[in-house]
């Protein structure tokens, strides 16, 4: 693909997929500004490989997004939140189990990679193989991360446990 053509294709991709990427990024980061920055960095990095991926950019872009999300957390010396900081469960607060704030706070207790696995598997609906490819890890690791993440989410939102099925 030539320069102007590639340029045009990239702009079309940005226009059509930016919002979807932002939603995934928001679920992975939990912060709108972080999510917006993550999407911008992802798209900027994708420019370098656009000649190769122009025909099917989505998987490559999602891979950059997922890895950048986990790496930037690692760079910020992410640490798992201590037990004392865990959010109160819905049962103890009497709040609506469908309240997405609970889910938001529960997601925040997951490790960046667990969180990315949850988003890719249960929001973007990728297969285990595609999730593993996107994160650069094995299928077995994807399975164990998904299992641990769901266990944790069910523990924090017991009333919604039944609804937290994949």
């Amino acid at each position: 693909m030539s320069g102007p053509e590639a340029h045009e294709g990239f702009e079309q991709f940005v226009a059509s997929r930016r919002a979807a990427l932002l939603r995934s990024a928001y679920l992975m980061t939990g912060d709108l500004h972080d999510a917006d920055d993550l999407v911008q960095v992802t798209l900027v990095k994708a420019v370098g490989a656009w000649d190769r991926i122009a025909d099917r950019p989505e998987p490559y872009v999602r891979r950059i997004l997922a890895r950048e999300a986990t790496n930037r957390w690692r760079r910020r010396r992410w640490r798992e939140l201590p037990t004392a900081d865990l959010p109160d469960s819905a049962a103890s607060t009497g709040r609506d189990p469908d309240d997405v704030d609970l889910l938001d706070r529960a997601l925040a207790t997951l490790s960046p990679r667990q969180r990315a696995v949850v988003v890719l598997r249960y929001y973007d609906d990728l297969t285990e193989r595609d999730t593993a490819d996107a994160l650069g890890i094995s299928v077995g690791t994807v399975k164990s991360h998904a299992r641990d993440a769901l266990t944790r989410l069910r523990a924090l939102v017991p009333e919604a446990a039944a609804s937290l099925t994949p």
Partner: protein, 447 residues
């Protein structure tokens, strides 16, 4: 509500903000890609430059590969002998050295995994230095090798297996000495003579008595382990064009105090009152001169090529030694009347005669006597000239005595290869540092 539904509801909070346009992102991406490429190229260039410099320095120290030398290439004396590097190439890989002017014994020799001692040969035609790979070379507290006076062969003691308990007193590695061999420096051919032995041999004399004849004399060890008793001397004469040595019936043993006189093709056997001059090939007694009172038999004795005079270092009296000492000369028919060469230089070891009027000896050289040198001394008037500089404290050196009259020819210093283990470690470190820098830089640079 499924997890997907709840995630979707949560994701709806992510309302797009007014951000950079697709064109602006494309421009940023282009600049980022350019910066990444430039940084990667810079780090790669610096790493490659470092690798090239280290490789170049290593190759520079290793020197050029030696060229094959024609057997008839003219011989020359190098102006100085250098302390050899332990990483010099060996004759097994670099080929036989051709005619040799000097061999240096007891030189440290290193490889990637081993450290041992070896014999370095200096080419008479090129001045090239290399280790001699002498199969089964015996290294011990004795003269390991003997260089032929014409520099064409090297004789040496060999190790092997004994029928009984091996005697471990002779060699450094505990293997018994079981024979001797001769190495052809032009072809690299080795011919070995093995001696049947129960415990091993105790080497005594290994000396050339002519350009192609050498004598080996030894005693049979009489016990294994550290037993020091040895008897039953045997002496062999090997004219190297022949396939095998010939055992001499008389004398049956030449002690280590016997001196070869290659230039006159004779052997001197020392005695308390009188000495014996033997024919170098047949070992027949030619003359029985009286023992010279003022010659130091421990510092080298040599008979002139015309067979009329004997030279050595002067000593005040029998059984005494003085070092340094002037050269002394006596007529062979009256060795008791040895006279010191007046006005001659101070010397340590007599090496041999260069012609009927001059001897070569190790002594002090330079205007202030600051270094050791091989000197040529006129035995008549004591005048001398420096043939070559020799490093102080260098291990035993042997010269091809027939070549000492050759012209002094300028020779390059031998290579001093760097320790290849350090070079490899340096190269690996550079590669790792380059990769680490690249990784760190690519992580640090932000789009």
């Amino acid at each position: 509500m499924t997890l997907h539904d709840q995630l979707e509801r949560l994701a709806e909070r992510a309302e797009p903000e007014a951000g950079p346009t697709g064109r602006e992102l494309w421009d940023r991406g282009t600049r980022y890609r350019r910066r990444m490429r430039a940084g990667t190229a810079s780090i790669a260039a610096v790493t490659l430059l470092g690798l090239a410099v280290l490789t170049g320095v290593s190759i520079g120290h290793a020197g050029p590969s030696p060229e094959p030398v024609p057997a008839d290439a003219p011989a020359g004396l190098p102006p100085r002998i250098w302390d050899p590097s332990p990483w010099l190439a060996g004759s097994a890989e670099a080929g036989p050295p051709g005619q040799v002017i000097t061999v240096i014994e007891n030189q440290l020799r290193r490889s990637w995994t081993t450290s041992t001692y070896g014999v370095v040969a200096v080419s008479a035609a090129t001045g090239d230095y290399r280790f001699l790979d002498l199969p089964r070379l015996a290294l011990g507290d004795f003269t390991h090798v003997a260089l032929a006076p014409d520099g064409r062969h090297v004789a040496y003691w060999t190790t092997g297996s004994s029928t009984g308990a091996p005697n471990t007193t002779s060699t450094f590695d505990g293997l018994p000495v079981t024979g001797f061999a001769v190495y052809d420096v032009d072809s690299g051919e080795v011919r070995t003579h093995s001696v049947p032995t129960r415990h091993g041999l105790r080497p005594d004399t290994l000396t050339w008595t002519g350009p192609s004849t050498f004598v080996a004399s030894y005693l049979q060890q009489q016990g294994g382990g550290r037993e020091g008793f040895a008897t039953d001397g045997e002496t062999w004469v090997w004219d190297v064009p022949g396939d095998a040595p010939v055992r001499a019936t008389e004398p049956s043993w030449l002690s280590a105090g016997s001196w070869s006189i290659p230039s006159s093709r004779q052997v001197l056997l020392t005695g308390r009152r009188s000495d014996r001059i033997l024919d170098g090939t047949t070992l027949e007694v030619l003359a029985r001169p009286p023992h010279a009172t003022h010659l130091d038999y421990g510092a080298g004795i040599a008979v002139s090529p015309d067979g009329t005079r004997i030279a050595g270092l002067w000593t005040p009296g029998p059984g005494t030694s003085r070092s340094p000492s002037p050269v002394a000369v006596a007529r062979l028919d009256d060795t008791a009347d040895a006279t010191r060469v007046r006005s001659g230089p101070s010397t340590y070891v007599l090496v041999g005669w260069t012609d009927d009027d001059h001897v070569a000896a190790l002594g002090t050289g330079g205007p202030d006597g600051s270094h050791s040198a091989l000197l040529e001394v006129d035995v008549d008037d004591g005048s001398s000239r420096e043939l070559m500089v020799v490093p102080n404290g260098l291990a035993p050196i042997q010269w091809a005595t027939d070549l000492l009259g050759s012209p002094v020819v300028d020779r390059p210093a031998p290579p001093r290869p760097l320790d290849p283990r350090w070079v490899t470690a340096g190269l690996a470190t550079l590669v790792i540092a380059g990769l680490f820098s690249l990784w760190g830089w690519r992580r640090r640079v932000r789009p």
